[in-house]
């Protein structure tokens, strides 16, 4: 399994990287952790002629607070996210999700930017970012723009990113202290993509749901924001009937493929189970203030 030939570039700044991508057009691809791209190159499902390695760009590797946002550099690795005290305190769902991705070796190299830019519906971070209302910061030849995670995914491996654009950071509005969160992922084994997974971020006020977001992984051609399911819960106290109604509403928007993980009907059923578990777990965490 040998990838095709390519020219290797290692720019030191975002501007150099953008210029290289602009020069080489569709034939060039950014390389971050390489743990989605290199396997695809080995299978010759991807054969870029130019690889623009982002690892020399220090500016992409920081995690910081900026106003009400937590700003995560695109080249921050999953291992770095797991070890970050700032993320543990302010965005625990990111740590909780990163720990469910692949295995330790892959998490040392795999980046958050690569995970969300890849566009594989099996990637776990996109649904979490949608749930958090994150915006992706993209820099291209025409300047910098922000793209809401909710509008980024167009289809399998198709995103709103233009060929010469680089994702430089993910901006996440910090949820209020005491919010509840959960990422519930059903998988066959370590290192497997989700059979079905659900992300939930909610806040409670006097025992009732004040705000709620639900998103789903690997249950359609893109990550799915289950807005109707979430809206139906506002004002409820998450009684079993409320949770079931939300799970049913979420199941209704899924369109899973049948593969080794199971036929579509099974995966849709599991979507409901994951949503119910995630709501229950998030509510417990909110109530405990954890």
């Amino acid at each position: 399994m040998i990838p095709g030939t390519f020219v290797y570039h290692r720019p030191g700044t975002v501007q150099e990287a953008v210029a290289l991508l602009a020069d080489h057009g569709e034939e060039a691809r950014p390389l971050a952790g390489g743990h989605s791209l290199i396997p695809m190159m080995k299978l010759r499902m991807a054969a870029p002629e130019h690889l623009v390695d982002l690892r020399g760009i220090g500016a992409l590797k920081t995690i910081a607070e900026d106003g009400g946002d937590i700003v995560i550099g695109a080249a921050v690795t999953q291992a770095q996210a797991i070890a970050s005290d700032l993320l543990a305190a302010r965005l625990p769902i990111i740590r909780g999700t990163a720990l469910q991705i692949a295995d330790p070796q892959i998490r040392y190299l795999g980046t958050l930017g690569g995970n969300v830019a890849n566009g594989d519906p099996g990637n776990d971070m996109p649904a979490v970012m949608q749930c958090l209302g994150a915006r992706y910061v993209a820099e291209g030849p025409d300047g910098v723009r922000e793209i809401p995670a909710a509008e980024f995914y167009l289809g399998p491996y198709a995103t709103a990113l233009a060929p010469a654009e680089i994702l430089t950071a993910i901006r996440v509005p910090a949820p209020p202290a005491g919010h509840g969160w959960a990422y519930e992922k059903l998988k066959r084994k370590v290192g497997d993509y989700a059979t079905a997974a659900a992300a939930v971020v909610l806040t409670l006020a006097a025992g009732k749901v004040a705000t709620c977001a639900i998103a789903l992984t690997n249950l359609g051609p893109t990550p799915l924001l289950a807005n109707a399911a979430a809206a139906g819960l506002v004002g409820s106290n998450l009684a079993p009937a409320d949770v079931k109604a939300a799970a049913d509403a979420a199941k209704a928007i899924t369109d899973p493929a049948g593969d080794g993980r199971g036929p579509p009907a099974y995966r849709r059923e599991m979507a409901g189970v994951m949503v119910a578990r995630a709501l229950t777990r998030a509510a417990q965490r909110a109530a405990n203030g954890a």
């Binding site: 040998i2 030939t5 020219v7 390489g34 743990h35 290199i38 080995k42 330790p104 070796q105 370590v190």
Partner: protein
Amino acid sequence: MTDQIPISITVNGRSVRRFVDPRLLLIHFLREDLGLTGAHIGCETSHCGACTVDLDGMSVKSCTMFAAQADGATITTIEGMANPDGTLSVLQESFRQMHGLQCGYCTPGMIMRASVLLRENPDPTDDEVRQGIAGNLCRCTGYQNIVKAVRHAAAVINGRPSQEAAE
């Protein structure tokens, strides 16, 4: 054809400079260019962990990285794990004593991964060892004795009597 590029890497304490094809995978560089055949190729698909090496203190699967990406890095492979006098390191000796291997194919990857795990978490529980080596597959042992070997090594390193006995 694309041009070869220069890389300089420290491998097991030795500094190495070479020209490589950009598409050369790190595992092939280690095995074929440097003759270090301790890191194994099991799956070639980033699943089995037999190719795990220590790169700047991280465990990485060298089948899923280009040698070019390792430019400037410090790498340790299983060949660099023995004590300077040639005797087995604590972790290697623990695998021997606890029967942490049968065919041995996964062992270089297991030991390289376990050494980073113990650096980050010097006294892991059984569960933490299992989570920590979740990216390394073994077709022979059923993992019991591998977990014991890692915990035994932790006990020796921490100067505690070991609770472990091989099964």
